[in-house]
Protein backbone atom coordinates (compact mmCIF):
# COMPACT_ATOMS: atom_id res chain seq x y z
CA UNK A 1 0.00 0.00 0.00
CA UNK A 2 2.76 2.40 0.96
CA UNK A 3 5.20 1.16 -1.58
CA UNK A 4 4.18 -0.43 -4.81
CA UNK A 5 4.90 -0.58 -8.47
CA UNK A 6 1.36 -0.99 -9.72
CA UNK A 7 0.63 1.48 -12.48
CA UNK A 8 4.29 2.39 -12.81
CA UNK A 9 4.71 1.05 -16.33
CA UNK A 10 7.91 1.17 -18.31
CA UNK A 11 7.54 1.67 -22.01
CA UNK A 12 11.16 1.97 -23.06
CA UNK A 13 14.49 0.49 -22.04
CA UNK A 14 15.79 3.84 -20.88
CA UNK A 15 13.24 4.08 -18.10
CA UNK A 16 13.60 0.37 -17.34
CA UNK A 17 17.31 0.90 -16.69
CA UNK A 18 17.00 3.73 -14.21
CA UNK A 19 18.46 3.44 -10.74
CA UNK A 20 15.18 3.73 -8.88
CA UNK A 21 12.57 2.19 -11.14
CA UNK A 22 9.76 2.62 -8.63
CA UNK A 23 8.29 6.06 -8.11
CA UNK A 24 8.11 6.05 -4.33
CA UNK A 25 11.76 5.03 -4.13
CA UNK A 26 12.69 7.86 -6.41
CA UNK A 27 10.85 10.36 -4.24
CA UNK A 28 12.43 8.98 -1.09
CA UNK A 29 15.88 9.29 -2.63
CA UNK A 30 15.46 12.89 -3.75
CA UNK A 31 13.85 13.86 -0.44
CA UNK A 32 16.87 12.44 1.38
CA UNK A 33 19.19 14.37 -0.91
CA UNK A 34 17.32 17.61 -0.34
CA UNK A 35 17.55 17.14 3.41
CA UNK A 36 21.24 16.25 3.18
CA UNK A 37 22.21 19.11 0.87
CA UNK A 38 19.85 21.94 1.81
CA UNK A 39 18.71 21.42 5.40
CA UNK A 40 21.48 19.65 7.32
CA UNK A 41 24.14 22.33 6.58
CA UNK A 42 22.05 24.92 8.46
CA UNK A 43 21.88 22.86 11.63
CA UNK A 44 25.23 21.13 11.69
CA UNK A 45 27.57 21.88 14.59
CA UNK A 46 31.11 20.85 15.30
CA UNK A 47 30.10 17.76 17.31
CA UNK A 48 27.84 16.40 14.59
CA UNK A 49 30.44 17.18 11.99
CA UNK A 50 33.47 15.60 13.66
CA UNK A 51 31.84 12.63 15.37
CA UNK A 52 29.00 11.68 13.10
CA UNK A 53 28.54 13.11 9.65
CA UNK A 54 31.99 13.61 8.17
CA UNK A 55 33.30 10.19 9.30
CA UNK A 56 30.10 8.65 8.00
CA UNK A 57 30.57 10.25 4.57
CA UNK A 58 34.25 9.44 4.33
CA UNK A 59 33.81 5.84 5.41
CA UNK A 60 30.89 5.43 3.04
CA UNK A 61 33.21 6.42 0.23
CA UNK A 62 35.87 3.97 1.37
CA UNK A 63 33.32 1.17 1.80
CA UNK A 64 32.01 1.93 -1.66
CA UNK A 65 35.52 1.58 -3.04
CA UNK A 66 36.13 -1.72 -1.30
CA UNK A 67 32.71 -2.97 -2.35
CA UNK A 68 33.62 -2.43 -6.00
CA UNK A 69 36.62 -4.68 -5.57
CA UNK A 70 35.31 -7.26 -3.12
CA UNK A 71 31.58 -7.13 -3.66
CA UNK A 72 31.42 -6.65 -7.39
CA UNK A 73 34.63 -8.20 -8.63
CA UNK A 74 35.02 -10.82 -5.89
CA UNK A 75 38.63 -9.99 -5.00
CA UNK A 76 39.08 -9.95 -1.24
CA UNK A 77 41.35 -7.18 -0.08
CA UNK A 78 42.88 -6.44 3.28
CA UNK A 79 44.98 -3.58 1.97
CA UNK A 80 42.40 -0.83 2.46
CA UNK A 81 44.31 0.88 5.29
CA UNK A 82 47.45 0.94 3.17
CA UNK A 83 45.62 2.41 0.18
CA UNK A 84 43.99 5.02 2.42
CA UNK A 85 47.49 5.94 3.57
CA UNK A 86 48.61 6.31 -0.05
CA UNK A 87 45.70 8.67 -0.65
CA UNK A 88 46.46 10.63 2.50
CA UNK A 89 50.17 10.98 1.78
CA UNK A 90 49.59 11.81 -1.87
CA UNK A 91 47.17 14.49 -0.69
CA UNK A 92 49.69 15.83 1.81
CA UNK A 93 52.53 15.92 -0.69
CA UNK A 94 50.36 17.60 -3.32
CA UNK A 95 49.00 20.14 -0.84
CA UNK A 96 52.45 21.13 0.33
CA UNK A 97 54.16 20.97 -3.07
CA UNK A 98 51.45 22.88 -4.96
CA UNK A 99 49.82 25.26 -2.45
CA UNK A 100 47.80 26.95 -5.19
CA UNK A 101 46.21 23.80 -6.53
CA UNK A 102 42.52 23.62 -5.70
CA UNK A 103 41.84 21.08 -2.94
CA UNK A 104 39.23 19.36 -5.07
CA UNK A 105 41.85 18.51 -7.70
CA UNK A 106 44.33 17.56 -4.99
CA UNK A 107 41.86 15.01 -3.67
CA UNK A 108 41.12 13.64 -7.14
CA UNK A 109 44.83 13.41 -7.99
CA UNK A 110 45.45 11.57 -4.72
CA UNK A 111 42.88 9.08 -5.96
CA UNK A 112 44.75 8.73 -9.25
CA UNK A 113 48.03 8.04 -7.45
CA UNK A 114 46.32 5.44 -5.27
CA UNK A 115 44.74 3.84 -8.32
CA UNK A 116 48.20 3.30 -9.83
CA UNK A 117 49.52 1.82 -6.58
CA UNK A 118 46.39 -0.33 -6.30
CA UNK A 119 46.88 -1.73 -9.79
CA UNK A 120 50.43 -2.66 -8.91
CA UNK A 121 49.28 -4.58 -5.84
CA UNK A 122 46.41 -6.03 -7.85
CA UNK A 123 48.78 -7.89 -10.16
CA UNK A 124 48.96 -10.99 -7.91
CA UNK A 125 45.18 -11.36 -8.27
CA UNK A 126 45.77 -12.81 -11.72
CA UNK A 127 47.38 -15.85 -10.18
CA UNK A 128 45.89 -16.17 -6.72
CA UNK A 129 42.34 -16.10 -5.48
CA UNK A 130 40.26 -15.97 -2.33
CA UNK A 131 42.02 -16.20 1.02
CA UNK A 132 45.42 -16.34 -0.61
CA UNK A 133 44.78 -13.05 -2.34
CA UNK A 134 43.66 -11.58 0.98
CA UNK A 135 47.05 -12.52 2.40
CA UNK A 136 48.80 -10.97 -0.60
CA UNK A 137 46.93 -7.70 -0.13
CA UNK A 138 47.84 -7.84 3.55
CA UNK A 139 51.40 -7.48 2.31
CA UNK A 140 50.35 -4.21 0.65
CA UNK A 141 49.00 -2.99 3.96
CA UNK A 142 52.20 -3.64 5.88
CA UNK A 143 54.56 -2.65 3.10
CA UNK A 144 52.89 0.71 2.43
CA UNK A 145 52.77 1.66 6.12
CA UNK A 146 56.42 0.71 6.43
CA UNK A 147 57.33 2.85 3.43
CA UNK A 148 55.56 5.89 4.83
CA UNK A 149 57.33 5.45 8.16
CA UNK A 150 60.72 4.70 6.73
CA UNK A 151 61.25 7.47 4.19
CA UNK A 152 60.90 10.89 5.76
CA UNK A 153 60.45 12.52 2.35
CA UNK A 154 56.83 11.45 2.60
CA UNK A 155 56.19 13.48 5.75
CA UNK A 156 58.41 16.37 4.64
CA UNK A 157 61.11 15.51 7.22
CA UNK A 158 58.92 16.57 10.14
CA UNK A 159 60.55 15.40 13.40
CA UNK A 160 57.33 13.93 14.80
CA UNK A 161 56.65 11.89 11.67
CA UNK A 162 53.18 13.41 11.56
CA UNK A 163 51.51 14.96 8.57
CA UNK A 164 49.32 18.00 9.10
CA UNK A 165 46.84 19.36 6.59
CA UNK A 166 47.32 23.07 5.85
CA UNK A 167 44.16 25.16 5.39
CA UNK A 168 42.87 25.16 1.81
CA UNK A 169 39.92 26.93 0.23
CA UNK A 170 37.33 26.03 -2.31
CA UNK A 171 35.40 29.01 -3.73
CA UNK A 172 36.94 31.10 -0.95
CA UNK A 173 35.62 28.85 1.82
CA UNK A 174 38.09 26.95 3.99
CA UNK A 175 37.48 23.21 3.93
CA UNK A 176 40.64 21.84 5.53
CA UNK A 177 42.62 22.80 8.61
CA UNK A 178 41.37 23.56 12.13
CA UNK A 179 39.35 26.65 11.21
CA UNK A 180 37.15 25.12 8.57
CA UNK A 181 33.46 25.66 9.35
CA UNK A 182 31.53 22.42 9.95
CA UNK A 183 29.01 22.99 7.17
CA UNK A 184 31.80 23.54 4.63
CA UNK A 185 33.65 20.30 5.37
CA UNK A 186 30.34 18.45 5.46
CA UNK A 187 29.18 19.81 2.11
CA UNK A 188 32.60 19.21 0.55
CA UNK A 189 32.57 15.53 1.56
CA UNK A 190 28.90 15.13 0.68
CA UNK A 191 29.39 16.53 -2.82
CA UNK A 192 32.34 14.26 -3.52
CA UNK A 193 30.47 11.25 -2.15
CA UNK A 194 27.39 12.09 -4.23
CA UNK A 195 29.43 12.25 -7.44
CA UNK A 196 31.36 9.10 -6.64
CA UNK A 197 28.29 7.11 -5.69
CA UNK A 198 26.64 8.15 -8.93
CA UNK A 199 29.70 7.09 -10.93
CA UNK A 200 29.85 3.79 -9.03
CA UNK A 201 26.25 3.13 -9.93
CA UNK A 202 26.95 3.94 -13.59
CA UNK A 203 29.96 1.67 -13.71
CA UNK A 204 28.22 -1.23 -12.04
CA UNK A 205 25.04 -1.17 -14.09
CA UNK A 206 26.72 -1.35 -17.50
CA UNK A 207 29.25 -3.40 -19.36
CA UNK A 208 32.08 -2.69 -16.92
CA UNK A 209 30.11 -3.83 -13.89
CA UNK A 210 28.89 -6.93 -15.66
CA UNK A 211 32.42 -7.94 -16.55
CA UNK A 212 33.42 -7.53 -12.86
CA UNK A 213 30.49 -9.60 -11.69
CA UNK A 214 31.19 -12.23 -14.33
CA UNK A 215 34.71 -12.64 -12.96
CA UNK A 216 33.27 -12.81 -9.44
CA UNK A 217 30.60 -15.41 -10.19
CA UNK A 218 32.44 -17.76 -12.56
CA UNK A 219 35.83 -16.64 -13.73
CA UNK A 220 36.45 -19.45 -16.21
CA UNK A 221 33.10 -18.99 -17.94
CA UNK A 222 33.73 -15.25 -17.98
CA UNK A 223 37.01 -15.73 -19.77
CA UNK A 224 35.45 -18.06 -22.33
CA UNK A 225 32.70 -15.52 -22.99
CA UNK A 226 35.30 -12.92 -23.79
CA UNK A 227 35.99 -11.11 -20.52
CA UNK A 228 39.68 -10.41 -20.32
CA UNK A 229 40.72 -11.39 -16.78
CA UNK A 230 43.82 -9.19 -16.65
CA UNK A 231 42.14 -6.02 -17.75
CA UNK A 232 38.97 -6.62 -15.75
CA UNK A 233 40.63 -7.41 -12.45
CA UNK A 234 43.10 -4.57 -12.78
CA UNK A 235 40.32 -2.14 -13.64
CA UNK A 236 38.47 -3.21 -10.50
CA UNK A 237 41.63 -2.69 -8.46
CA UNK A 238 42.18 0.69 -10.09
CA UNK A 239 38.65 1.99 -9.56
CA UNK A 240 38.46 0.59 -6.05
CA UNK A 241 41.81 2.08 -5.06
CA UNK A 242 40.81 5.37 -6.65
CA UNK A 243 37.79 5.54 -4.36
CA UNK A 244 39.77 4.43 -1.32
CA UNK A 245 42.53 6.91 -2.15
CA UNK A 246 40.06 9.78 -2.36
CA UNK A 247 38.53 8.51 0.88
CA UNK A 248 41.96 8.40 2.51
CA UNK A 249 42.74 11.92 1.31
CA UNK A 250 39.49 13.24 2.80
CA UNK A 251 40.01 11.19 5.95
CA UNK A 252 43.35 12.87 6.49
CA UNK A 253 42.79 16.39 5.18
CA UNK A 254 39.20 17.07 6.20
CA UNK A 255 38.44 14.70 9.04
CA UNK A 256 41.66 14.12 11.01
CA UNK A 257 43.60 17.24 10.04
CA UNK A 258 46.77 15.60 11.29
CA UNK A 259 47.78 11.98 11.10
CA UNK A 260 50.50 9.56 12.10
CA UNK A 261 50.61 6.74 9.63
CA UNK A 262 50.83 3.66 11.88
CA UNK A 263 48.02 4.91 14.07
CA UNK A 264 45.69 6.37 11.47
CA UNK A 265 45.97 3.76 8.72
CA UNK A 266 46.68 0.53 10.57
CA UNK A 267 45.37 -2.92 9.81
CA UNK A 268 42.28 -2.20 11.95
CA UNK A 269 41.13 0.23 9.25
CA UNK A 270 41.37 -2.51 6.64
CA UNK A 271 39.21 -4.77 8.76
CA UNK A 272 36.75 -2.01 9.56
CA UNK A 273 36.22 -1.35 5.85
CA UNK A 274 35.84 -5.06 5.14
CA UNK A 275 33.29 -5.43 7.96
CA UNK A 276 31.33 -2.49 6.58
CA UNK A 277 31.14 -4.11 3.18
CA UNK A 278 30.19 -7.53 4.55
CA UNK A 279 27.59 -6.22 7.00
CA UNK A 280 26.19 -3.74 4.52
CA UNK A 281 25.99 -6.19 1.67
CA UNK A 282 28.54 -7.36 -0.86
CA UNK A 283 27.81 -6.14 -4.36
CA UNK A 284 25.42 -3.41 -3.33
CA UNK A 285 25.95 0.31 -3.44
CA UNK A 286 23.28 0.94 -0.84
CA UNK A 287 24.95 -1.74 1.26
CA UNK A 288 28.19 0.27 1.40
CA UNK A 289 26.29 3.17 2.95
CA UNK A 290 24.35 0.99 5.36
CA UNK A 291 27.47 -0.85 6.46
CA UNK A 292 29.38 2.37 7.04
CA UNK A 293 26.41 3.84 8.88
CA UNK A 294 26.11 0.80 11.12
CA UNK A 295 29.77 0.71 12.14
CA UNK A 296 30.19 4.48 12.48
CA UNK A 297 26.89 5.49 14.03
CA UNK A 298 26.31 2.56 16.37
CA UNK A 299 29.36 3.23 18.59
CA UNK A 300 28.42 6.90 18.82
CA UNK A 301 24.86 6.03 19.73
CA UNK A 302 25.88 3.47 22.33
CA UNK A 303 28.40 5.85 23.85
CA UNK A 304 25.76 8.53 24.17
CA UNK A 305 23.37 6.12 25.81
CA UNK A 306 25.88 4.64 28.25
CA UNK A 307 27.84 7.72 29.20
CA UNK A 308 25.32 10.47 28.49
CA UNK A 309 22.08 8.92 29.64
CA UNK A 310 23.09 6.16 32.07
CA UNK A 311 26.16 7.96 33.43
CA UNK A 312 28.52 4.97 33.32
CA UNK A 313 32.27 5.49 33.53
CA UNK A 314 33.75 5.95 30.05
CA UNK A 315 36.10 2.96 30.22
CA UNK A 316 33.32 0.53 31.13
CA UNK A 317 31.11 2.03 28.46
CA UNK A 318 33.87 1.67 25.87
CA UNK A 319 34.36 -2.03 26.60
CA UNK A 320 30.66 -2.85 26.70
CA UNK A 321 30.24 -0.97 23.47
CA UNK A 322 32.90 -3.06 21.73
CA UNK A 323 31.25 -6.26 22.97
CA UNK A 324 27.80 -5.10 21.92
CA UNK A 325 28.94 -4.11 18.44
CA UNK A 326 30.65 -7.47 18.02
CA UNK A 327 27.50 -9.23 19.16
CA UNK A 328 25.35 -7.19 16.80
CA UNK A 329 27.62 -8.00 13.87
CA UNK A 330 27.26 -11.72 14.61
CA UNK A 331 23.52 -11.34 15.06
CA UNK A 332 23.07 -9.50 11.79
CA UNK A 333 25.14 -12.01 9.88
CA UNK A 334 23.03 -14.87 11.28
CA UNK A 335 19.76 -13.12 10.52
CA UNK A 336 20.80 -12.07 7.04
CA UNK A 337 24.15 -13.33 5.72
CA UNK A 338 23.79 -11.13 2.65
CA UNK A 339 23.87 -7.97 4.68
CA UNK A 340 21.70 -5.02 5.50
CA UNK A 341 21.04 -4.25 1.84
CA UNK A 342 19.40 -7.66 1.45
CA UNK A 343 17.35 -7.01 4.58
CA UNK A 344 16.14 -3.79 2.99
CA UNK A 345 15.35 -5.64 -0.23
CA UNK A 346 13.27 -8.22 1.65
CA UNK A 347 11.48 -5.47 3.55
CA UNK A 348 10.56 -3.90 0.24
CA UNK A 349 9.21 -7.21 -1.06
CA UNK A 350 7.00 -7.42 2.03
CA UNK A 351 5.95 -3.78 1.74
CA UNK A 352 4.78 -4.34 -1.82
CA UNK A 353 2.10 -6.69 -0.57
CA UNK A 354 1.35 -5.06 2.75
CA UNK A 355 -1.13 -5.37 4.43
CA UNK A 356 -1.73 -8.72 2.77
CA UNK A 357 0.52 -11.68 3.53
CA UNK A 358 0.85 -12.72 -0.12
Amino acid sequence: MLYREAGDFKTDYRSDQQTFPIKSERYLFWATMIVAFCIVPFFINSYWEKSVLVPLLVWSLIALGLNILTGYCGQVSLGTGGFMAVGAFACYKLMTAFPDLNIFFVVILSGVVTALVGMLFGLPSLRIKGFYLAVATLAAQFFLIWVFNKFDWFYNYSPSGQITAPPRDIFGITVTGPNAPPWATYLFCLTILFIFAWVARNLTRGRVGRSWMAIRDMDIAAEIIGVEPLRTKLSAFAVSSFYIGVGGALFFSVYLGAAEVTEAFGIDKSFLALFMVIIGGLGSILGSFLGAAFLILMPVLLKNIFVGTLGWPTDVAAHIQIMLIGGLIVLFLIVEPHGLAQLWRLTKEKLRLWPFPY
Partner: protein
Amino acid sequence: MNAPIRPDTQLHTRADDGIATGDDLLVTENISLSFGGVRAIADISFDVKKGEIRAIIGPNGAGKTSMLNVINGFYHPQQGTITFRGNKRRRMRPHEAANQGIARTFQNIALFGGMSTLDNLMTGRITLMKRNMLWHAAWFGPAQREEIEHREAVEQIIDFLEIEHIRKTPVGRLPYGLQKRVELGRALAAEPALLLLDEPMAGMNLEEKEDMSRFILDVNQQYGTTIALIEHDMGVVMDLSDRVVVLDYGRKIGDGTPDEVRNNQDVIDAYLGVPHEDA
Protein backbone atom coordinates in the same frame (compact mmCIF):
# COMPACT_ATOMS: atom_id res chain seq x y z
CA MET B 1 5.73 -25.89 -27.06
CA ASN B 2 7.57 -25.07 -30.20
CA ALA B 3 9.46 -21.85 -30.59
CA PRO B 4 7.69 -19.69 -33.10
CA ILE B 5 9.73 -19.13 -36.21
CA ARG B 6 9.56 -15.53 -37.16
CA PRO B 7 11.61 -14.63 -40.19
CA ASP B 8 11.31 -10.93 -39.35
CA THR B 9 13.42 -11.22 -36.19
CA GLN B 10 16.60 -11.94 -38.10
CA LEU B 11 19.63 -11.35 -35.93
CA HIS B 12 22.66 -10.02 -37.67
CA THR B 13 25.25 -12.66 -36.91
CA ARG B 14 28.90 -13.01 -37.48
CA ALA B 15 27.89 -15.85 -39.77
CA ASP B 16 28.14 -13.55 -42.78
CA ASP B 17 31.89 -13.52 -43.13
CA GLY B 18 32.49 -14.57 -46.71
CA ILE B 19 32.62 -18.29 -46.02
CA ALA B 20 29.95 -20.00 -48.08
CA THR B 21 27.63 -22.50 -46.46
CA GLY B 22 29.18 -25.94 -46.75
CA ASP B 23 32.78 -24.71 -46.77
CA ASP B 24 35.16 -25.39 -43.90
CA LEU B 25 34.50 -23.14 -40.92
CA LEU B 26 36.72 -24.95 -38.49
CA VAL B 27 39.44 -27.47 -39.23
CA THR B 28 41.44 -29.23 -36.56
CA GLU B 29 44.53 -31.04 -37.76
CA ASN B 30 46.44 -33.69 -35.81
CA ILE B 31 45.54 -32.33 -32.40
CA SER B 32 47.30 -34.02 -29.49
CA LEU B 33 46.82 -33.03 -25.88
CA SER B 34 48.21 -34.67 -22.80
CA PHE B 35 48.23 -33.88 -19.11
CA GLY B 36 51.48 -35.25 -17.75
CA GLY B 37 51.39 -38.91 -18.73
CA VAL B 38 47.71 -38.97 -19.57
CA ARG B 39 46.99 -38.66 -23.24
CA ALA B 40 43.60 -36.99 -23.47
CA ILE B 41 43.54 -36.46 -27.21
CA ALA B 42 45.73 -38.28 -29.69
CA ASP B 43 46.18 -37.02 -33.22
CA ILE B 44 42.61 -36.03 -33.96
CA SER B 45 41.61 -34.25 -37.15
CA PHE B 46 38.13 -33.28 -38.15
CA ASP B 47 36.30 -30.38 -39.70
CA VAL B 48 33.14 -28.42 -39.14
CA LYS B 49 31.42 -27.07 -42.23
CA LYS B 50 29.62 -23.81 -42.14
CA GLY B 51 25.92 -24.08 -41.43
CA GLU B 52 25.90 -27.68 -40.21
CA ILE B 53 25.19 -29.29 -36.86
CA ARG B 54 28.17 -31.42 -36.01
CA ALA B 55 27.98 -33.86 -33.12
CA ILE B 56 30.92 -35.16 -31.12
CA ILE B 57 30.10 -38.36 -29.32
CA GLY B 58 31.95 -41.04 -27.44
CA PRO B 59 31.97 -42.93 -24.14
CA ASN B 60 32.87 -41.13 -20.91
CA GLY B 61 36.45 -39.95 -20.81
CA ALA B 62 36.83 -40.12 -24.57
CA GLY B 63 38.15 -36.56 -24.75
CA LYS B 64 35.07 -34.78 -26.07
CA THR B 65 35.04 -31.91 -23.60
CA SER B 66 38.84 -31.64 -23.88
CA MET B 67 38.35 -31.21 -27.62
CA LEU B 68 35.92 -28.33 -27.06
CA ASN B 69 38.32 -26.81 -24.58
CA VAL B 70 41.04 -26.96 -27.21
CA ILE B 71 38.79 -25.33 -29.79
CA ASN B 72 37.93 -22.37 -27.61
CA GLY B 73 41.46 -21.86 -26.40
CA PHE B 74 41.07 -23.08 -22.83
CA TYR B 75 43.55 -25.93 -23.34
CA HIS B 76 46.62 -25.59 -25.47
CA PRO B 77 47.37 -28.71 -27.48
CA GLN B 78 50.99 -29.91 -27.62
CA GLN B 79 50.64 -30.69 -31.29
CA GLY B 80 48.40 -29.80 -34.17
CA THR B 81 46.75 -26.72 -35.52
CA ILE B 82 43.28 -25.25 -35.55
CA THR B 83 42.05 -23.24 -38.49
CA PHE B 84 39.01 -21.15 -37.75
CA ARG B 85 37.56 -18.98 -40.53
CA GLY B 86 40.81 -19.27 -42.42
CA ASN B 87 43.06 -18.23 -39.51
CA LYS B 88 45.50 -20.92 -38.47
CA ARG B 89 46.57 -21.05 -34.85
CA ARG B 90 48.08 -23.24 -32.21
CA ARG B 91 47.68 -21.27 -29.02
CA MET B 92 45.03 -18.76 -28.16
CA ARG B 93 43.56 -17.30 -25.00
CA PRO B 94 39.84 -18.05 -24.49
CA HIS B 95 38.78 -14.41 -24.77
CA GLU B 96 40.54 -14.16 -28.11
CA ALA B 97 38.57 -17.16 -29.34
CA ALA B 98 35.42 -15.43 -28.09
CA ASN B 99 36.37 -12.34 -30.05
CA GLN B 100 36.69 -14.45 -33.18
CA GLY B 101 33.12 -15.67 -32.78
CA ILE B 102 33.29 -18.93 -30.83
CA ALA B 103 30.72 -19.22 -28.03
CA ARG B 104 29.89 -22.20 -25.86
CA THR B 105 27.79 -23.65 -23.11
CA PHE B 106 29.06 -25.92 -20.38
CA GLN B 107 28.40 -29.43 -19.19
CA ASN B 108 27.90 -28.20 -15.65
CA ILE B 109 26.03 -24.95 -15.90
CA ALA B 110 28.42 -22.03 -15.61
CA LEU B 111 26.08 -19.08 -15.37
CA PHE B 112 26.82 -15.97 -13.35
CA GLY B 113 24.63 -16.89 -10.39
CA GLY B 114 24.43 -13.49 -8.78
CA MET B 115 23.22 -11.75 -11.91
CA SER B 116 19.77 -11.63 -13.49
CA THR B 117 18.90 -13.49 -16.69
CA LEU B 118 19.04 -10.20 -18.51
CA ASP B 119 22.50 -9.36 -17.20
CA ASN B 120 23.76 -12.83 -18.03
CA LEU B 121 22.66 -12.38 -21.62
CA MET B 122 24.06 -8.87 -21.75
CA THR B 123 27.39 -10.25 -20.52
CA GLY B 124 27.29 -12.61 -23.48
CA ARG B 125 27.55 -9.55 -25.71
CA ILE B 126 30.63 -8.25 -24.00
CA THR B 127 32.86 -8.75 -27.02
CA LEU B 128 30.47 -6.66 -29.12
CA MET B 129 30.41 -3.69 -26.74
CA LYS B 130 33.07 -1.12 -27.25
CA ARG B 131 32.51 1.89 -24.95
CA ASN B 132 35.26 2.23 -22.41
CA MET B 133 35.10 2.91 -18.72
CA LEU B 134 35.10 6.70 -18.94
CA TRP B 135 31.97 6.67 -21.08
CA HIS B 136 30.38 4.29 -18.63
CA ALA B 137 31.29 6.47 -15.67
CA ALA B 138 29.30 9.29 -17.24
CA TRP B 139 26.57 6.90 -18.42
CA PHE B 140 24.36 9.41 -20.21
CA GLY B 141 25.15 9.63 -23.88
CA PRO B 142 27.14 6.99 -25.77
CA ALA B 143 27.29 4.38 -22.99
CA GLN B 144 23.55 4.47 -22.45
CA ARG B 145 22.87 4.37 -26.18
CA GLU B 146 25.10 1.35 -26.53
CA GLU B 147 23.43 -0.41 -23.61
CA ILE B 148 19.99 0.18 -25.08
CA GLU B 149 21.08 -0.98 -28.53
CA HIS B 150 22.37 -4.25 -27.08
CA ARG B 151 19.37 -4.59 -24.83
CA GLU B 152 17.21 -4.68 -27.95
CA ALA B 153 19.29 -7.51 -29.40
CA VAL B 154 19.14 -9.40 -26.09
CA GLU B 155 15.38 -8.96 -25.90
CA GLN B 156 15.10 -10.73 -29.26
CA ILE B 157 16.92 -13.71 -27.83
CA ILE B 158 14.79 -13.63 -24.68
CA ASP B 159 11.78 -13.67 -26.95
CA PHE B 160 13.21 -16.48 -29.06
CA LEU B 161 13.94 -18.69 -26.05
CA GLU B 162 10.66 -17.82 -24.33
CA ILE B 163 12.24 -16.66 -21.09
CA GLU B 164 10.48 -13.29 -20.81
CA HIS B 165 9.04 -14.10 -17.39
CA ILE B 166 12.45 -14.64 -15.78
CA ARG B 167 14.13 -11.63 -17.32
CA LYS B 168 14.94 -10.00 -13.98
CA THR B 169 15.25 -13.11 -11.82
CA PRO B 170 18.72 -13.90 -10.47
CA VAL B 171 19.70 -17.05 -12.36
CA GLY B 172 20.82 -18.79 -9.18
CA ARG B 173 17.15 -19.12 -8.23
CA LEU B 174 16.02 -20.69 -11.52
CA PRO B 175 15.29 -24.38 -11.98
CA TYR B 176 17.83 -26.48 -13.86
CA GLY B 177 16.04 -26.65 -17.20
CA LEU B 178 15.64 -22.89 -17.38
CA GLN B 179 19.26 -22.37 -16.38
CA LYS B 180 20.30 -24.51 -19.32
CA ARG B 181 18.13 -22.37 -21.56
CA VAL B 182 19.57 -19.13 -20.18
CA GLU B 183 23.03 -20.50 -20.79
CA LEU B 184 22.15 -21.18 -24.41
CA GLY B 185 20.82 -17.63 -24.55
CA ARG B 186 24.04 -16.25 -23.19
CA ALA B 187 26.04 -18.07 -25.85
CA LEU B 188 23.61 -16.91 -28.56
CA ALA B 189 23.85 -13.32 -27.35
CA ALA B 190 27.44 -13.26 -28.55
CA GLU B 191 26.16 -13.78 -32.12
CA PRO B 192 28.64 -16.59 -32.61
CA ALA B 193 29.87 -17.95 -35.89
CA LEU B 194 30.44 -21.28 -34.17
CA LEU B 195 28.40 -22.42 -31.19
CA LEU B 196 29.81 -25.19 -29.02
CA LEU B 197 27.27 -27.01 -26.86
CA ASP B 198 28.59 -29.34 -24.19
CA GLU B 199 25.78 -31.76 -23.33
CA PRO B 200 22.89 -29.38 -23.77
CA MET B 201 20.34 -32.04 -22.73
CA ALA B 202 22.16 -33.53 -19.76
CA GLY B 203 19.81 -34.16 -16.85
CA MET B 204 16.68 -33.07 -18.67
CA ASN B 205 13.34 -34.78 -18.88
CA LEU B 206 11.76 -35.70 -22.20
CA GLU B 207 9.79 -32.50 -22.59
CA GLU B 208 12.76 -30.30 -21.78
CA LYS B 209 14.85 -32.29 -24.24
CA GLU B 210 12.27 -31.75 -26.95
CA ASP B 211 12.24 -28.01 -26.25
CA MET B 212 16.00 -27.82 -26.30
CA SER B 213 16.22 -29.81 -29.56
CA ARG B 214 13.73 -27.43 -31.10
CA PHE B 215 15.78 -24.42 -29.99
CA ILE B 216 18.98 -25.93 -31.37
CA LEU B 217 17.39 -26.61 -34.74
CA ASP B 218 15.85 -23.14 -34.82
CA VAL B 219 19.15 -21.50 -33.99
CA ASN B 220 20.77 -23.41 -36.80
CA GLN B 221 18.06 -22.69 -39.34
CA GLN B 222 16.96 -19.21 -38.36
CA TYR B 223 20.28 -17.62 -37.48
CA GLY B 224 22.41 -19.84 -39.70
CA THR B 225 24.71 -20.56 -36.78
CA THR B 226 27.09 -23.47 -37.12
CA ILE B 227 26.82 -25.78 -34.12
CA ALA B 228 29.15 -28.40 -32.69
CA LEU B 229 27.57 -30.35 -29.87
CA ILE B 230 28.47 -33.09 -27.45
CA GLU B 231 25.60 -35.29 -26.38
CA HIS B 232 25.04 -38.70 -24.88
CA ASP B 233 21.43 -39.11 -25.91
CA MET B 234 21.85 -41.04 -29.17
CA GLY B 235 18.30 -40.40 -30.32
CA VAL B 236 18.90 -36.67 -30.10
CA VAL B 237 22.31 -36.88 -31.76
CA MET B 238 21.15 -38.96 -34.68
CA ASP B 239 18.09 -36.78 -35.28
CA LEU B 240 19.72 -33.38 -34.92
CA SER B 241 23.14 -33.66 -36.44
CA ASP B 242 24.25 -33.54 -40.03
CA ARG B 243 27.53 -35.29 -39.33
CA VAL B 244 28.95 -37.09 -36.32
CA VAL B 245 32.51 -37.60 -35.13
CA VAL B 246 33.13 -40.43 -32.65
CA LEU B 247 35.96 -40.39 -30.13
CA ASP B 248 37.16 -43.17 -27.87
CA TYR B 249 40.16 -43.01 -25.52
CA GLY B 250 41.28 -39.80 -27.20
CA ARG B 251 41.30 -41.32 -30.68
CA LYS B 252 38.91 -40.72 -33.51
CA ILE B 253 37.17 -43.96 -34.41
CA GLY B 254 34.41 -42.78 -36.68
CA ASP B 255 33.34 -39.78 -38.73
CA GLY B 256 30.42 -39.33 -41.08
CA THR B 257 26.68 -39.02 -41.34
CA PRO B 258 24.57 -40.49 -38.55
CA ASP B 259 23.81 -43.55 -40.66
CA GLU B 260 27.45 -44.22 -41.47
CA VAL B 261 28.43 -43.90 -37.86
CA ARG B 262 25.59 -46.13 -36.70
CA ASN B 263 26.88 -48.93 -38.91
CA ASN B 264 30.56 -48.45 -38.11
CA GLN B 265 31.89 -51.59 -36.39
CA ASP B 266 34.50 -49.68 -34.30
CA VAL B 267 31.79 -47.42 -32.96
CA ILE B 268 29.55 -50.35 -32.07
CA ASP B 269 32.45 -52.02 -30.30
CA ALA B 270 33.32 -48.90 -28.36
CA TYR B 271 29.79 -48.46 -27.12
CA LEU B 272 28.78 -52.10 -26.62
CA GLY B 273 32.17 -53.49 -25.76
CA VAL B 274 33.91 -56.51 -27.33
CA PRO B 275 34.42 -59.83 -25.60
CA HIS B 276 37.94 -60.37 -24.26
CA GLU B 277 39.85 -62.97 -26.22
CA ASP B 278 40.32 -65.15 -23.20
CA ALA B 279 36.67 -64.97 -22.20
